[in-house]
């Protein structure tokens, strides 16, 4: 985490030309995987991620089933071709960890007690990675869960903030993640106002921490608007109001 070059130029622009409060281009398409019960494809800057949800369905092996609630299983996986140099397709330590935090980020939103003895499987496949893929993955997975018609308290939106050149910036990309000072991915349920994931890699002073968290939450709200738009587009087209038939 040692910084070797300036990541913010004299005009206040970052390596990819964004300002410090700017999100990367985010595009979500709902229902891309036909075989899944719910799915979403997200393009978060250069990240390209597919999320597919199956279930609620029978639990196999049976001993994993819980009698009072549903089992949520997440798999985060990076394709061998998603990075510059080939990534071994076997699940790495990092992927196992992200699968776990992703599950924990989604669990508070899903009403697991509505589907006892069943399982919901969430598969997140990173096709192209560009930093912040866990946030993009959670965002897509949450949309896919809603698309699958699973009872949810809220949609989970995720976005990172971090420190670059001693400035707190929104939505860290790959270069800023590797060369910057800190990276803080946050997942948030905007309606309930609850944080479901918060990690921090790097060092921040208490003031910087607060600023960083606030900025990440602002980012989450922006992401939420895009999620909402994507879901509305899939189910209701361009209509925003229910038209009463004559």
């Amino acid at each position: 985490m040692t910084q070797t070059r300036n990541l913010i130029d004299e005009n206040g622009k970052r390596t990819d030309g964004r300002t410090i409060d700017e999100l990367r281009q985010v595009k979500i398409t709902v229902g891309t995987v036909k075989n899944a019960d719910g799915s979403a494809f997200i393009e978060f800057g250069k990240n390209k991620i597919v999320a597919a949800v199956y279930g609620p369905r029978e639990v196999h092996p049976k001993h994993l089933a819980q009698s009072d609630r549903c089992v949520l299983r997440c798999r985060y996986h990076m394709s061998p071709f998603s990075t510059d140099t080939r990534k071994n397709p076997a699940p790495s330590r990092r992927e196992v960890e992200i699968s776990k935090v992703m599950r924990e980020a989604l669990e508070p939103a899903v009403m697991l007690e509505d589907y006892p003895r069943a399982a919901i499987d969430v598969f997140v496949e990173v096709l192209q990675s560009d930093g912040g893929s866990r946030c993009a993955g959670i965002t897509a997975a949450s949309v896919a869960l809603a698309d699958a018609g699973i009872n949810m308290r809220d949609i989970v939106a995720a976005c990172a903030a971090g420190k670059v050149d001693d400035k707190i910036v929104l939505d860290i990309n790959d270069t800023e993640d590797k060369e910057g000072g800190a990276d803080m991915p946050v997942a948030y349920m905007p309606t309930l106002g609850q944080i479901t994931l918060m990690q921090l890699d790097g060092r921040l002073s208490p003031e910087q921490f607060n600023e960083c968290l606030d900025k990440a939450l602002v980012g989450c709200k922006m992401v939420y608007d895009i999620q909402r738009q994507a879901l509305m587009q899939k189910y209701f087209g361009n209509e925003t109001e229910v038209k009463e038939e004559q």
């Binding site: 009403m111 003895r117 009872n151 209509e239």
Partner: protein, 261 residues
């Protein structure tokens, strides 16, 4: 009916604030009700609910379902009812109380692979659903074209007081049997009629939430605007007063049994 407010919602959207009764797919938090599914929220005098537009089938007692026999033990059949729970049909339900595994041959009655129409007799989520054939028109389905639709589209396919399904049946000279679990069986005299009905059902599934669907179905099936069949016309008038998807009303589930006659 006039004071029902409707709007499109996604999970987490606030539907109503104040003293509303939570009906379905809503969760109460503090003094407000929030949606838990994507769909159309309805707030009325009797409470607030969300009519979902996606999701798998979760059995409910008294639902009419169409299932496939997947296995049998010495005492019951196991039935796949297109849900995350596989259902049980006790042998005593078919053979009566004096059923004896040694004397009665279960596979003679219902073999693995047979399709049946059944009613959910008991289900409370702690145990697998139990089915019964003890009702009019329940039992083995001998023939027909089988198709699967999303269970959330079933009320729309039936329509208000069965208007949609009656339109399709009359125009294509077919019988359409609909299970609440999203399995549909179409039988008819001519393959053309069945094919046309399947096409119409697929169209209803894809465009379930759009306005004026019955009209477009009529165009697809070449039904004149004022058909001679008065009941279908009057039902249509009542139906169009309602928007998009109709709720999964148990009373509507009765309809397809009657249409079987």
């Amino acid at each position: 009916m006039n004071d029902i407010r409707r709007r499109y919602v996604i999970p987490g959207d606030k539907i109503a604030e104040g003293n509303y009764r939570p009906l379905m797919n809503v969760v109460k938090s503090g003094n407000a009700l929030y949606a838990t599914r994507i769909g159309i929220a309805e707030t009325g005098r009797d409470g607030a609910k969300v009519i979902p537009l996606s999701g798998v089938y979760i059995p409910r007692v008294n639902d009419l379902v169409i299932g496939k026999i997947t296995d049998h033990t010495s005492l019951s059949w196991e039935v796949d009812i297109n849900s995350c729970f596989s259902a049980h049909l006790p042998a005593s339900d078919v053979f009566g109380r004096d059923f004896s595994p040694a004397r009665d041959d279960m596979s003679k009655h219902l073999a693995v692979g047979d399709m049946i129409t059944a009613r959910v007799a008991a289900f409370d989520r702690t145990r697998d659903p139990m089915l019964t054939l003890q009702d009019r028109d329940l039992g083995k389905i001998p023939r027909g074209e089988l198709l699967k639709i999303s269970p959330t589209r079933v009320p729309r396919l039936i329509g208000k007081r069965g208007s949609m399904i009656q339109t399709i049946e009359q125009a294509t000279q077919t019988r359409v049997l609909i299970g609440q679990n999203g399995i549909v069986v179409v039988t008819g005299r001519t393959p053309e009629g069945v094919e046309m009905a399947v096409k119409a059902i697929r169209m209803v599934e894809e465009e379930a939430h759009t306005a004026n669907l019955t009209q477009r179905i009529k165009v697809l099936l070449n039904v004149p605007d004022e058909p001679q069949g008065a009941p279908a016309a009057s039902n249509e008038a009542q139906k169009t007063a309602e928007p998009a998807a109709a709720p999964a009303d148990p009373a509507e589930g009765e309809l397809e049994v009657e249409s079987e006659k």
